[in-house]
Subunit: 264 residues, 2 copies
C-alpha cells in the first residue's frame, strides 16, 4: 500500500548511483482525472492535482467564458473520490447545450489554439490601462521566494505553480500538474473570494506562450511574470493588449518585454 497524503505518494524505486543499484523511495505527484459537469452536462475532463478543485473549476469556467462573474455560480461541488465536480450555474439548458456544442466545434476544428482565434480573441479585448507600479527589486525577490514556495515541488519536482501578488505581497498561490491549471486555480480562487486582479501580477513557473498570455490578459491582470522567456507571439499580444510582460528573472536581473511604464 503506497503512503499518500492525497497529492503525492511515496513509492519504492531502484536508484542507480556510481555504487550501483539500491532500493530507495521517491515522492511522486498524484495525477487525478477530474470531470466537470455543468448543470448535469459533461463538459470536460482535466488531468490535474486533486486539490482546490473548486478553484480550478471556477477558473476554468471563467477562462473559457462560460461564466463572467461569481454571481452566475450557484454551486461548485467537487467529489474527490469520484473525480467529478458538479457545477450549477444560472443559465438555461439551451446555453449549456450550446456551450458543449461550441466547445466541440471549436476544439475539433483546431481553432481552439489557432492563430485566427488568437487574433479574434485579442481583437475583442480592450487594452489594459490599469495604472499599477511595481518595483523591479520587489519582483526579483518575489520570484526568488516563489521558486521555493511549493512544498509539493520541493518533494516531487513535478508541479507547476502560479502566484497572484501585489508588489511583494503574496496573495494567492496554487500548484498543479499543468501550468494552465495552476493559473486557472489562482484566477478562480480570486474570483470566488472577491479578490481583484486588475491591481496585481500573476507569476507563473511555466513558459509564457500566446495561450497563457491570453488567459491572463482576458481577466484584466496588467502584469505577467515568468522566470522563463516568452514566445514572440506572447510578446506581440502583450504589446497590443497593454500587458506588462516580465521574464528571464534570474541572477538579480529581469527583462521587461512590453509596457515597462508599470515597472520602477
Amino acid at each position: 500500500v503506497p503512503k499518500t497524503n492525497g497529492y503525492h505518494k511515496k513509492i519504492d524505486v531502484t536508484k542507480y548511483t556510481a555504487n550501483g543499484p539500491e532500493s530507495a523511495e521517491a515522492s511522486i505527484i498524484i495525477e487525478s482525472p477530474m470531470t466537470i459537469f455543468v448543470n448535469g452536462e459533461e463538459l470536460v475532463t482535466l488531468l490535474c492535482l486533486g486539490r482546490g478543485l473548486e478553484y480550478l473549476t471556477a477558473g476554468f469556467l471563467w477562462s473559457e467564458n462560460v461564466i463572467s462573474s461569481k454571481s452566475e455560480i450557484d454551486s461548485i461541488v467537487p467529489d474527490y473520490g469520484r473525480g467529478t465536480v458538479q457545477v450549477k450555474i444560472a443559465k438555461d439548458n439551451a446555453f449549456i447545450k450550446d456551450l458543449v456544442f461550441k466547445r466541440l466545434v471549436t476544439t475539433a476544428c483546431g481553432k481552439g489554439s489557432s492563430f485566427y482565434t488568437i487574433d479574434e480573441t485579442a481583437a475583442k479585448l480592450p487594452e489594459n490601462t490599469a495604472e499599477v507600479l511595481f518595483y523591479a527589486a520587489d519582483i526579483i525577490s518575489l520570484v526568488a521566494e516563489f521558486e521555493n514556495m511549493s512544498e509539493l515541488h520541493e518533494k516531487t519536482r513535478g508541479v507547476h505553480s502560479a502566484l497572484l501578488a501585489r508588489g511583494r505581497e503574496k496573495v494567492i498561490f496554487h500548484d498543479d500538474i499543468g501550468r494552465h491549471n495552476a493559473i486557472d486555480k489562482v484566477l478562480g480562487h480570486a474570483l470566488l473570494t472577491d479578490v481583484p486582479v486588475s491591481d496585481k501580477m500573476v507569476v507563473s513557473s511555466g513558459r509564457i506562450s500566446s495561450e497563457v498570455l491570453l488567459k491572463v490578459a482576458k481577466k484584466g491582470v496588467p502584469v505577467l511574470v515568468s522566470r522563463a522567456q516568452p514566445t514572440d507571439l506572447a510578446v506581440d499580444l502583450a504589446d497590443r493588449l497593454g500587458i506588462t510582460l516580465v521574464g528571464f528573472v534570474r541572477n538579480g536581473a529581469m527583462n521587461v518585454y512590453t509596457h515597462p511604464h508599470r515597472i520602477s
Copy 2:
C-alpha cells in the same frame, strides 16, 4: 525590423538590474501556428516551433492513429509562409470525414484526456517485451549531454527537447515549444526515415504525465527517460505496459520507477 533566423529573434527589452533599467536585447522563440490539412480537410492547428513540420505532422498523425505506417503517407508538404501542412494519405474521404468527426466528439467530451480513455487505450496496448539493456551510467551521461544539446534553448531558454537514443548513441533530436510536439517530431522523424524505435529510449525535457507516457508507449518505445519525476498515473501505466520509466536523473544518480530489468 526584428533580427530573426526563423526560429528565434532578437528584440529590444528593458533590462532591470541592481543598477536600474538599461536597454538590452533578448532572444525569444518564434511561436508559429500550423494548420494540418489531411486530403484537403482541416484537422487541427498546432502552435509550434516552425521547424521540422513534416516530422511534427507525421508524428502527430502517427500518435493520433490517423496513420499506422509510413506507407500510408503519400505526401506531406509544409508551407512555412502560410503556416499550413498539406497531407495526402491513402485513405478515402469517408475515413477523413469520420476522423474529423471523431476528433471533434472525442475532444469535445473531454474524453481526449479522460481516465476512461486512458484506461481504454492502455487496455488495447500489448505489454512491451522488448529486450534491450542500457547502462545506468550511459543514461546519466546522456541526460547531462541532452541538457546542453539545444542551441535554441541555450539562446532563448524557451524550448522543450526530445531525443531518441540507443545507449549513448544520440539518434534523433528535436526542439519545440511544447514537450508533446518535441516528442511527436522525434517519433515522426523516426517513422519517415525508417529508424526503429523498439530498441531505443526517448529522453524528454518535460515532466512525464500519463499522456506523455501513453504517447511513447503506443509506439513501442521500451524506455522513457526524464530529468523530472513522473506522476503516479504515468508510473501505473508504465508498470502495466512493460515500459521502463527513468526519472530524477541528476547529480550522478537516477531513479528507475518500473521494469528495472532493462537497466544495468
